[in-house]
Symmetry: C2
Subunit: 727 residues, 2 copies
């Protein structure tokens, strides 16, 4: 169900309405009245006849007209009964303020489940519990204990009432922007982040979505929805709780390396979300993105009236990955004609006192700079707004003239300006004018730089977006009948892992370059296969009971002669028996020895929040000791595969060292995508490990491959159609 009926409710029941002024059940009615809410208000309290002039009802069922939403201000334990009452009445949604649910341990979790069950039965959607409430500023529907929030077009979604208060206060004190909605998502017992996101995506009053997130209930749905949303409006997010999360599951090899927030960061970026680490930047970036066009070419110019600010801004922009192109010869000439000899014009432009007598020159410079086709956006840093205050009052009028002209410039050129001013605290009129024209003004140099760089980041994202590469899991679409057979056979054999030859065959089916391995059941067979291979061979034990072959002394490499092969076969079999006398030994795999190269590792697994993810790293110490790995959510795009490889610190090793030629990075990228494809094609697969893969100048060799299947009961993700397993 759409959230429209709840977030834009036309009638509200206040359950736990009160005559006591300090109670939420009073304050809410008072606020709805004060702020001229246009819908119906129904106080509910069996002990009162009327509150603030409204008739008070015994219960919700007793109300005459329809009720869209109930604000529930009664304690946690009352909720199942309250919702039963709401259900009888046909209430569409409830905002549950009470704490004392899932966040309080098993007891609370039980109560929360009970409450949700009642709500589901009656098709009531829940905001919260444990929420500060909900606020729709365009319809004056204020169900939160907070007045005077500024109205505007930013939707605010948070998991902390205090952070909401922080952001709303900041908007009020430091900007002329405001909010379309505020929702405290609370425990997300029913409605989750991604559902609010979808509502705001369609909401015409919302131009940007600002989020404070501590944890996500369903990361996959969230990024799917976010990816759709960011194509239409920017989403800005601060995720906290880094320090407490850490390594989560000590499960598989891949799992033990996966810092959850690393996966999340990558997924957020790929969904086009602008992530913020510094809470000071959260509102300003939302303000900027809600009101200015993104920068198309990642190129920013700086205009300054002093060296220090320009230098710091240039450092920070560089740190944030934004280009500062040198201005064109023509642009530089025009600026020189306008400014004193001492002025620096390549970029940053330092006016060197050129604006002291006439600060309206800022607008002239801005025009020249934004007309340079290579400049995507402009950052002005320094004293603008303070010329009239510092020098002579008459200069204020020139600053105001400049503000008008710069405002119109931004509109006509579709290129943004962000301004840093030392004088925001003095509130000069010129700065108010800039804000009126949607040019944001900050007293912090760092925040100004972050804001203009966010416009560049968003622009780069929109340019690089390709509709083919979404987060949707097109299960089964690319499965091969023979692949399904391999998995089925393993299941029927009672196994939860594919044998190495099975795993390699599966990869080969999908076009991976696997070696022509053959299974030998006797030393003679091994010798015969080795002879045909025509090169050095490797022998490896094949047994469903031996997953870690090296541990069981089950591998022999670089075998050249018949004698070596025969001896190796006998030793491997004997070692396997010694290792596990009950092992079901299927034979010994004979593979050609892989050519020399650099080892890499690829792994896939299921993440609790995001579902299937993929890991890549350079083998050996790089992964094992230096933890130099990259993660991505599956399915992987071609550019995602390339970037995974490039973002590992050890990446330069693939470019060749000590005079060696570069290795086949394209082959790695192709294999990463192929692993992503297999993960999606066979929902029965729980995790895969390609370790090692040896990368050559041309092509690569998959030396070992492990594929673990899900335990039946683990096929639980709603998208997973595990029909082939009958579950």
């Amino acid at each position: 169900m759409s959230l429209e009926k709840i977030l834009k409710a036309e009638s509200v029941a206040i359950i736990g309405a009160s005559k006591i002024e300090t109670k939420r059940g009073y304050q809410t009615i008072r606020t709805l009245l004060d702020e001229k809410y246009g819908g119906e208000i129904y106080p509910v309290n069996p002990k009162e006849k009327s509150i603030l002039g409204f008739k008070c009802y015994q219960n919700v069922s007793a109300i005459g007209g329809p009720v869209d939403v109930a604000l529930v201000a009664t304690p946690a334990r009352t909720l199942p009964a309250v919702l039963e009452d709401c259900g009888q009445k046909g209430v569409k949604g409830a905002v549950v303020l009470a704490a004392g649910f899932g966040e309080m341990g098993p007891e609370g979790r039980k109560l929360e489940n009970e409450m949700v069950a009642v709500a589901r039965k009656h098709h009531i959607r829940l905001i919260g519990p444990n929420t500060s409430g909900m606020l729709n500023l365009h319809d004056n529907l204020n169900l939160v204990g907070l007045k005077d929030a500024p109205k505007g077009n930013i939707a605010l979604l948070t998991q902390s009432g205090n952070m909401a208060l922080t952001l709303i206060t900041e908007a009020k004190v430091k900007s002329n922007k405001g909010f379309s909605y505020y929702v405290g998502v609370g425990n997300e017992a029913d409605i989750q982040f991604h559902e609010y996101l979808e509502f705001f995506r369609h909401d015409p009053d919302t131009k940007a979505i600002l989020m404070y997130v501590e944890g996500l209930r369903n990361g996959r749905k969230f990024i799917q929805q976010a990816q759709k949303t960011t194509l239409e409006k920017p989403v800005i997010l601060l995720k906290s709780g880094r320090s407490s999360t850490g390594k989560k599951s000590a499960g598989s090899h891949t799992g033990s390396l996966a810092g959850i927030s690393e996966v999340a960061q990558g997924a957020f970026r790929r969904a086009g979300i602008i992530t913020i680490e510094n809470s000071d930047e959260l509102f300003p970036v939302a303000e900027t993105l809600s009101s200015l066009p993104p920068i198309k070419n990642n190129n920013v110019a700086i205009l300054a009236d002093g060296g220090g600010h320009a230098t710091i801004a240039a450092d920070l922009l560089t740190d944030l990955g934004v280009n500062m192109p040198e201005l064109s010869e023509k642009t530089q000439q025009k600026l020189k004609a306008l400014l004193p000899d001492a002025a620096s014009v390549p970029n940053p432009v330092d006016v060197a006192g050129g604006t002291d007598a006439d600060p309206s020159l800022f607008a002239d410079c801005a025009k020249i700079m934004l007309n340079d086709p290579n400049v995507g956006g402009l950052l002005i840093v320094g004293l603008f707004g303070g010329y009239g205050i510092r020098f002579a009052e008459s200069l204020s009028l020139m600053e105001e003239d400049a503000a008008h002209r710069m405002g119109k410039l931004v509109k006509s050129r579709h290129k943004p300006i962000v301004l840093h001013s030392l004088y925001t605290s003095e509130k000069p009129h010129a700065l108010d004018l800039l804000r009126y024209y949607n040019i944001p003004v900050y007293d912090s140099l760092d925040v100004s730089v972050k804001c203009i760089s966010a416009l560049a980041e968003y622009g780069v994202y929109l340019n690089s977006y390709h509709p083919k590469y979404t987060f949707d899991l097109n299960w089964d679409a690319k499965a091969k009948p023979e692949g399904i057979e391999i998995i089925k056979a393993a299941r029927e054999d009672g196994r939860q892992a594919l044998l190495e030859p099975e795993a390699k065959r599966l990869f080969g089916l999908h076009g991976a370059p696997v070696s022509q391995d053959l299974l030998a059941k006797s030393a003679d067979e091994a010798v015969a296969i080795a002879a045909k291979a025509g090169s050095e061979v490797v022998l490896k034990i094949v047994s469903p009971n031996i997953l870690h072959k090296t541990e069981a002394s089950g591998v022999r490499i670089k075998l050249r002669t018949e004698q070596e092969v025969r001896q190796a076969y006998e030793e491997i079999i004997q070692s396997a028996i010694d290792y596990n006398p009950k092992a079901d030994i299927r034979g010994v795999l004979v593979s050609p020895m892989a050519a020399e190269g650099v080892e890499v590792i690829i792994g896939t697994k299921y993440d609790d929040q995001f579902g299937p993810i993929i890991m890549y790293g350079l083998g050996g110490i790089m992964v094992e000791i230096l933890k130099d790995v990259a993660f991505r959510v599956v399915p992987l795009s071609p550019s995602g595969a390339r970037k995974m490889i490039e973002e590992t610190k050890s990446f330069p090793i693939l470019d060749g060292s000590r005079g060696k030629p570069p290795l086949d990075k394209k082959a790695i990228a192709k294999l990463l995508q192929l692993c992503s494809e297999i993960m999606v094609a066979y929902p029965e697969i729980a995790e895969m490990d390609l370790n090692p893969v040896i990368v050559h100048q041309e092509g690569l060799s998959i030396v070992d491959a492990r594929v673990i299947l899900k335990a039946d009961e683990k096929c639980r993700m709603s998208e997973v159609r595990c029909k082939r397993n009958g579950s």
Copy 2:
């Protein structure tokens, strides 16, 4: 000469005094008058009789009384003549405002040198040129174009007038703190950063020193002075210009890896300087450090009235390396007795609404928490200051009560509190009270965290300081007579590099574990030496004309038999002749083959700013491709050597991988210190390269060592007594 006479001048000549109100020559006199400067004021302008009631002089020599300092407001080209005039008069110092010197290229550089020569001749010290001026707030000596700077005990030293304006404005608007001095250092043509630092170290009105630096003229003297200063008062520094510097000298191997700012960062940290990257944090950190005691144990507790702020603060503190210990059982019990059941008390402490009815509980909680011996400092985040505003006015009085009590608590416990409040913009009285008690208050969560963490960082530094390990270069002190002989012999031989056996002997003299290499002058000798070695040997060419032995095919390893040694000898000699027919071949070095282990590299060289520095990294791809190296300024302390090893990313490799035992990190640290010692003992050495050094489970092997001497004309650092070279 001390700067006292200049920075605390009792008489000022204004050269270029003027009657025009917009001129600096008028404004300065006006300001000195307005601000009641107690010293003598002498306008100098041949065209005027009097200005603002003061007699105007033809020139400085014409002034009757003594003149301590001259503010020079005339153009650059007049400076030599002006200073000549000042010199005649016996003026002690001059503040030179004019631009157009060194910063404008060779022409300006020439004029600057000329000006400095005149000043030196007359013992006049110069501030600037190209400076916004100087301001002594305690003596009302205002020689800068800026009024209303708040007075206090922070000395401000910057290389940017705009940054000074930024910081002074911030102090005025957001704090109750101010400045003792402001000096714009300008081009540092004469007086340099370290000299101001020394003055402020001794100045009783200064409790903290705040610096904005773009570049240092003499990094070594700066860190020497800073190390002395930070023992007495904190020094806070923001260094910009990161992006533009980059790789500087493409000289030696070590040189091409040295990012100048990396060396600087390490040196600053070791000197006890608190470095800041975010310009928003610069003034707040100085404010905090100037008024609160450092935290002794790196342990901080958080007190919050909401989950969101606490979570973000905990994340940031962790990122900054500050501990958040769990509070003691006793502390937790006391807090529980005070707060509601829902409160969280381990750390962070979340009052969970417990302060809503009585915010004076903040003081009770603060007292309990600061009484915990494990808590070194307290960060309070959230709504304090806003209870009276949000809920009921009567709560303001309780907040004021809490402010008084917390203020006294900080004084009596000698433990700091830093407070974040959402309500700073509303200016509640409680927050002013906190500031009165030196508890800093910020509206930014990030800034608050940075401030408390700076107190912890400073405390950790002071605890770890050891008077033995300074930046002083005790040249020659540890030189060995035989070492001096080796260098002398090389010089006499016309060489600028030691031969490998010489280099190794030098290292051996200082106790480094060098192998017993011997020089063979014939194949027979080589065979005889190898036979005695009793192990595999390595043969290496020795020739002053062949620095890169491998390039000349001059190395053979793992030689076992007499036949192998003989053949290797002949081949090496032949290869050397082929490589360079004119090479002076001294023979072939026979060394025992080093045992297996991990390769590391140690190098030393001279940095333009800091003099001798040392580099360390793991050999092979780690250094060559991943640039995973650490730098330190020489001399190196034992803890510095340890930290160098630990800060390389590849450090865990030394702890053993794939079941291998850990390697001898102590031996590396010892060798690093020894290299530092040699670098200081022999100022003739320009650079050294130990590449590779093989580290074993116990001990290490120096496989190759290169020592390059300075060209005579390069012995230029003032501290270097190159007397033995006769230069």
